[in-house]
Symmetry: C2
Subunit: 200 residues, 2 copies
């Protein structure tokens, strides 16, 4: 028999998962409390046992996204070899992530304008963390290769901008038609990194 807490957590997770699923089609900000509740198999009134309102749910969703992305990054970093071909491998891994976690990624790129100000703030914070992790990676790689960068922070921001833009485009295209996106993304990222290197 399941304890009461377990059961509560279970429906909480169901709410989150259902919201994520539904938001893929209409966007989270166009989602109604009732819709989500019913899809999760509970009465609208029971929704309030878990979240104050939809914005509250939205913030929980963002936590979910952040967690998943950080996990992905950590794994990817561990698998990444030193030396040549790192950009190719990273880009490949990223696009795979986008395809298999499309709902999460959609939330991240799609609601930058959508929700409340608290929601947007949390979202930008999530992206910022992304940027700063990449910045550290870039610095580490640069010093290992003995090719110092003029400004790793700017480079990281530019790379993230490009990566997210392409990721958003990937969402609109079936995965078997995305090869050109991968090569394009690889070239653009390399371009930025080349431009970021200190000239001697």
């Amino acid at each position: 028999m399941k304890s009461r807490n377990e059961k509560k957590l279970e429906t909480r997770r169901r709410l989150i998962q259902v919201a994520l699923q539904l938001s893929a089609e209409v966007g989270f900000s166009n989602l109604s409390l009732r819709e989500v509740s019913v899809a999760a198999g509970i009465t609208p009134a029971a929704f309030y046992r878990h979240f104050r309102d939809m914005e509250d749910l939205g913030l929980a969703l963002l936590d979910e996204v952040g967690l998943s992305l950080r996990q992905f990054l950590r794994d990817a970093r561990r698998r990444l070899p030193t030396g040549k071909g790192r950009v190719e491998i990273s880009v490949q891994a990223f696009l795979e992530y986008v395809n298999s976690n499309s709902n999460l990624f959609r939330l991240l790129v799609g609601e930058r304008q959508g929700g409340s100000s608290a929601f947007r703030k949390a979202l930008f914070a999530e992206i910022d963390q992304f940027v700063s992790e990449l910045k550290e990676d870039l610095e580490k790689a640069a010093s290992a290769d003995n090719k110092p960068l003029t400004n790793a922070a700017y480079a990281a921001e530019a790379v993230i901008a490009v990566v997210f833009t392409v990721g958003a485009e990937a969402l609109e295209i079936p995965k078997h038609k995305q090869e050109f996106l991968a090569t394009r993304l690889v070239e653009e990222v390399k371009m930025i990194l080349r431009g970021a290197r200190k000239r001697d």
Copy 2:
């Protein structure tokens, strides 16, 4: 006295302008037909004399945006001197545009995920046109400076990605606090252009 056609066009324009204004606060996809109609001073039922539904209005809005942006680009290009400092001037002009046409720009960056598929398609087409115009500018400038690029199209895409990302951030910040955005954007754009140059 105004002709009937003029009057109709007038309220049509009022609908578009009001929608643009309201969409700045909640995002266009969270806008209701009634809301827009009443704000424009007509009955909800009269809305149908001008647009089939909200999606139809959205497409008209996008036309508006595209027109305004192209106009801006043309003017900016004409004013642009040859030689040094072009990036700085362009970035400055762009940020000014974003601030004084924030509603239009918001639509462009905010609804990439928001509306119907027809809406998204039109939106991406608008951005694509942007990219291709920039590409031609870059090629022209590169040949004038005798500094050929490896791939002007990729460079243009990367620049647009960065520019739009920063533009989206500028929308969240009062204009007197944006100096750091400008310097950052200038550096990142230069970074990309440097990386795009053919090495000899």
